[in-house]
């Protein structure tokens, strides 16, 4: 864990020093604020997204979806659709079954229907597809397909999924007689029970629901498949956050040779986890191109995106916390019922069916913890971890930060003081939690204190007291989260057998310009900038002279892709280390050029110079030319200046943060207004502070949305009630405040530049801050808990003492 016991990892520009802390905000380039390299094309409308791909002779694919949640398919008549002019093909599940393609593996070792053959299992499930000469005709033809369904009783309420009367959804699985998906537990049940049984502890119990939400990226999912029947090569432009993993899985599913598949993930219009799974539509597009011999585009519409692609959350939790009378937290226990929908489409490392929910002990040093989880199938869309959740840490942080506030309410303690009293202390890091997670580094109190200082916490409490006296409802909510991001290490973490490590290649051209090739794929995080900065800082070539190539399996090394905030922790480390390999070679070349031993060389500002004689130096650009030039190189050295690496992380990284939300609730309408939101994040070494703040701002907006607005609801028949953006409410500029951000810097000890992930911190950390603030505002009404989304009607019910779970 520590770098002192092993070969020391080099610091960014020094040699032999440990990772360092610095205020990068003051630096123009290298690590520091620099404008994004990708922006010039985006502001001109020249981004290239999947739907922008236009190929000669391209056909369009549209998918017929089930209108009902649970039904047996009696018959499908496609004759009228096939007869429509400009229709090229109509394919059903039976057609795919004949080719052995009707089912595909999910990322959780389950299977999912590409097109339904026997039954439909959720509203919106794929039943058939049409390929036509244009988008509109393809849609027209869907209207002409006749499907006869035998409607079955749907299983909508996860609480009733395991009742003996419930219809069995997954009768496709051998011997399946119930809707049980999996059981999972972590922690020490007996030790936890012993603490809860103590007569001297205060126990607070609270049922907490994290309803189903949807990432709803602005760009929906889609693909363009182009199968070349002469050389047998498939090129697939698709909305994927993990192009290499997808390619390998296509090779396994479709039986195509992997070297004959090229997956291109061009510009992505947001992902947030929604673009991690393989969706039936991608497979349909591939099949359609093979069948028709033409390029085929499939682009889902918003409704299809909301009703059929990866959702998130859907955890029904019971939280229990035990503490001493004076507020020392001793144990946390939780029982979770997880709704996984019709197919277990969760994209989490295989040994972690509940993702990283095991970090539910949060930022607190406690004595025991235990979690028991049961997951069930229901007649709802498959998925599970999408929406910037860090593999279920969103649910874990919500649980612990909500239950800690409930404890503060029970004890009559200030929630900030209760947290400060229980933090893991800096000297305890690396800290192994009671559920077995090794937190790499942390120093929580300064982060918390900074947030309180920025918020003016004491003044806010004074203002609140004055307002309460006047009958006004103002709330102050706190959340302190610890995340675990950057999966692998590969010994513990894999997706369907693919280890969660990432490759990186760096090539310096003769003139000293460079290209770096990444296995991860940006969905807006600014990889083309951040990774150029990492390389720039390590080898002294300006970011403008470094081309970042990603999102194309033919032109990048293998790796698992971008989700779970893993790009900087994993690929960022790979980029730093590959640059150091190049620099090591450059040093040998420089020693030849300067005719001194390598030990006599010092590295500074993109050049090697002779120790004690700064005048004698060679730049990295001169070294690059020599590496490719005509002269002799030091003995045994090959020409060229390039390197590659596959980085297997030693551990996850554990970013953390303190969030404070201030809300006003209208006593007459129960409308919640987020007045202020203060976010102090610690993600270790900050590479581009501008981009980091952007990541935080976006996540905070997600948090306000989930806490107050967003929910994918279903009626009793299993109809999705959140099938458009008129029904699934996403915050606009009017629902969110101007964000106030701050930071502390606690580097990761095992990451070569000390960086941790940041992409999901705010999405994970902000919902409890908002909900805690609303509950704080409702204290005069005696409300301790109400579930998200805290819409005016739900808040009103809570004020009347009628808070009910949303599901």
């Amino acid at each position: 864990m520590t770098t002192t016991e092993e070969a020391p990892v080099e610091a960014p520009t020094g040699e032999g020093t440990v990772p360092t802390v610095v205020n990068n905000d003051q630096k123009p380039v290298g690590y520091g604020r620099m404008l994004r390299k990708e922006d010039p094309r985006f502001v001109r409308g020249l981004g290239r997204y999947v739907d922008d791909v236009q190929l000669h002779g391209m056909l369009h694919l549209a998918i017929l979806r089930s209108p009902v949640a649970h039904a047996r398919i009696i018959s499908i008549d496609v004759s009228a659709a096939q007869a429509l002019p400009k229709v090229k093909a109509v394919i059903t599940g039976a057609d795919l079954a004949a080719q052995g393609l009707a089912w595909m593996p999910t990322l959780s070792n389950d299977v999912q229907a590409v097109l339904a053959t026997d039954k439909v299992r959720f509203q919106g499930q794929e039943v058939a597809f049409v390929v036509a000469e244009d988008r509109y005709t393809a849609r027209d033809a869907l209207e002409l397909i006749e499907v006869e369904y035998d409607i079955l009783e749907p299983v909508v309420d996860a609480r009733r999924a395991l009742s003996p009367e419930a219809a069995v959804i997954r009768d496709d699985l051998d011997g399946k007689t119930d809707n049980h998906c999996f059981d999972w537990e972590t922690g020490d049940e007996a030790a936890t029970e012993a603490i809860f049984a103590r007569p001297d502890v205060v126990v607070v119990k609270q049922d907490i629901v994290y309803p189903r939400v949807h990432p709803a990226p602005m760009e929906t999912c889609g693909a363009v498949a182009d199968y070349d029947r002469v050389d047998g090569k498939l090129t697939l432009w698709s909305t994927t956050q993990a192009p290499h993993a997808h390619r390998t899985l296509y090779a396994i599913v479709a039986g195509l040779p992997e070297h004959k598949i090229r997956v291109i993930s061009p510009d992505l219009g947001g992902g947030f986890g929604n673009k991690v799974p393989i969706y039936p539509g991608y497979v349909c597009a591939i099949v359609a191109s093979i069948v028709t011999g033409k390029p085929v585009k499939w682009m889902e519409d918003r409704s299809e995106n909301l009703i059929s692609t990866g959702f998130a959350r859907d955890y029904i939790m019971r939280g229990e916390i035990a503490a001493t009378q004076d507020g020392k937290i001793l144990a946390i226990r939780t029982d979770v019922l997880a709704d996984h929908g019709a197919f277990n489409g969760t994209a989490a490392p295989v040994k972690y069916p509940a993702g990283f929910f095991g970090v539910f002990t949060g930022s607190y040093d406690i004595e025991a913890a235990y979690c028991k989880m049961t997951a069930v199938y229901t007649n709802k869309a498959p998925g599970g971890v999408a929406y910037a959740c860090s593999f279920r840490i969103t649910e874990a942080v919500y649980l612990v930060e909500r239950i800690v506030d409930c404890l503060a309410d029970e004890l009559g303690m200030d929630p900030a003081q209760l947290r400060l009293k229980n933090f893991i202390q800096p000297e305890q890091f690396p800290y192994t939690s009671k559920t077995g997670w090794t937190y790499d580094s942390g120093d929580y109190e300064p982060t918390m204190r900074l947030a309180m200082e920025m918020a003016g916490y004491d003044e806010l409490r004074t203002e609140q007291a004055e307002k309460r006296a006047r009958g006004e409802l103002m709330g102050i909510g706190i959340s302190f989260f610890t995340e675990a991001v950057g999966a692998g290490p590969r010994k513990d973490m894999d997706i369907l057998g693919l280890g969660m490590a990432d490759g990186c290649e760096l090539r310096v051209h003769p003139t000293g310009k460079a290209v770096v090739r990444l296995s991860v794929q940006s969905q807006g995080q600014g990889h083309e900038t951040t990774f150029a900065q990492i390389i720039a800082e390590e080898i002294g070539i300006p970011p403008a002279d470094i081309d970042v190539v990603h999102g194309d399996t033919d032109n990048t090394p293998f790796g698992l892709g971008t989700y779970g905030s893993r790009s900087t922790p994993v690929s960022g480390a790979a980029a730093a280390l590959v640059a150091r390999k190049v620099r090591d070679k450059a040093r040998i070349i420089a020693s030849g050029m300067l005719e001194v031993s390598v030990a006599d060389l010092e590295w500074q500002k993109g050049a090697f110079h002779v120790k004690g004689d700064p005048e004698k130096s060679v730049t990295i650009q001169a070294i690059a030319m020599r590496a490719h030039g005509a002269g002799d190189l030091p003995e045994g050295l090959e020409g060229g200046l390039e390197a590659q690496i596959c980085y297997n992380p030693e551990n996850l990284t554990y970013p953390f943060g303190a969030y404070i939300c201030v809300v006003d609730v209208d006593p007459g309408t129960a409308e919640v207004k987020v007045r202020r939101f203060i976010a102090v994040d610690d993600c270790g070494t900050r590479i581009n502070p501008m981009i980091i703040e952007g990541q935080v701002h976006g996540g905070l907006t997600d948090g306000v949305g989930m806490a107050l607005m967003e929910m994918i609801a279903f009626d009793e028949e299993g109809n999705c009630l959140g099938g458009s953006l008129m029904d699934y409410l996403i915050p606009t500029a009017l629902e969110v405040p101007d964000w106030e951000t701050g930071f502390t810097v606690t580097p990761s000890p095992h990451h070569p530049i000390g960086a941790k992930g940041i992409g999901e911190s705010a999405t994970v950390g902000s919902p409890p801050a908002v909900v805690n603030a609303v509950m704080d505002a409702l204290k005069p009404y005696g409300v301790r808990h109400a579930d998200m989304p805290l819409t005016p009607s739900r808040v009103w019910d809570a004020m009347q003492g009628k808070a009910t779970p949303p599901i």
Binding site: V43, M218, G524, T732
Partner: protein, 183 residues
């Protein structure tokens, strides 16, 4: 049917299906793919273009309705190889991440500044409230538009970024060393 209009100042005459949406006409027929398609229900605003200088959501406008009108898209913002101040502002203030909502946001921003060169923050938020951005959380979009307004007013626009408070004196920072100079 045949429609004629100007698109970014250029006259265009095309044969179309009467039901063709303006967004698909621009994207698929004219290959102006800077205008995006996001929701079908006029909620997300990634499809915003101008018809006769007024922003419209092109996913709920028929191409036929643009007949005889002047349409302007994101591709028409840059003039004579000079970026519009709004485009510059979005780059300067990190007003975009994935870039998908950006064309619509910029078209609305440009229209706002044309009728109100010095909008307040609430006015800016109101102007873009018919549009959704899933990445930025809107603060940087507001700053981008303020940047453009300041630029057009001849003021020197604010530096990128908003209020950022740094923790000055933790033990860790005291122990730290400084990374080398900027490259």
């Amino acid at each position: 049917m045949q429609v004629s209009m100007t698109v970014n100042g250029e006259p265009v005459t095309e044969e179309i299906e009467p039901r063709l949406l303006l967004v698909h006409f621009l994207r698929d027929q004219l290959r102006l793919t800077g205008t995006h398609w996001g929701c079908d229900t006029s909620n997300c605003g990634t499809c915003v273009v101008w018809m006769d200088d007024e922003p419209v959501k092109s996913c709920t406008v028929l191409a036929a309705m643009a007949d005889g009108r002047a349409v302007r898209t994101v591709e028409g913002l840059e003039q004579n190889n000079v970026l519009d101040p709004v485009q510059q502002g979005f780059m300067e203030c990190h007003g975009l991440q994935c870039g998908f909502c950006t064309p619509g946001m910029m078209m609305t921003a440009r229209a706002l500044l044309n009728r109100n060169p010095d909008p307040s923050e609430p006015e800016i938020r109101e102007a873009i409230s018919g549009q959704i951005c899933r990445c930025t959380g809107y603060s940087t979009i507001v700053r981008s538009i303020q940047w453009a307004a300041a630029k057009e007013a001849g003021e020197s626009p604010a530096q990128e970024g908003g209020p950022v408070t740094e923790l000055q004196e933790t033990d860790q920072l005291k122990q730290s060393e400084t990374v080398g100079d900027p490259v």
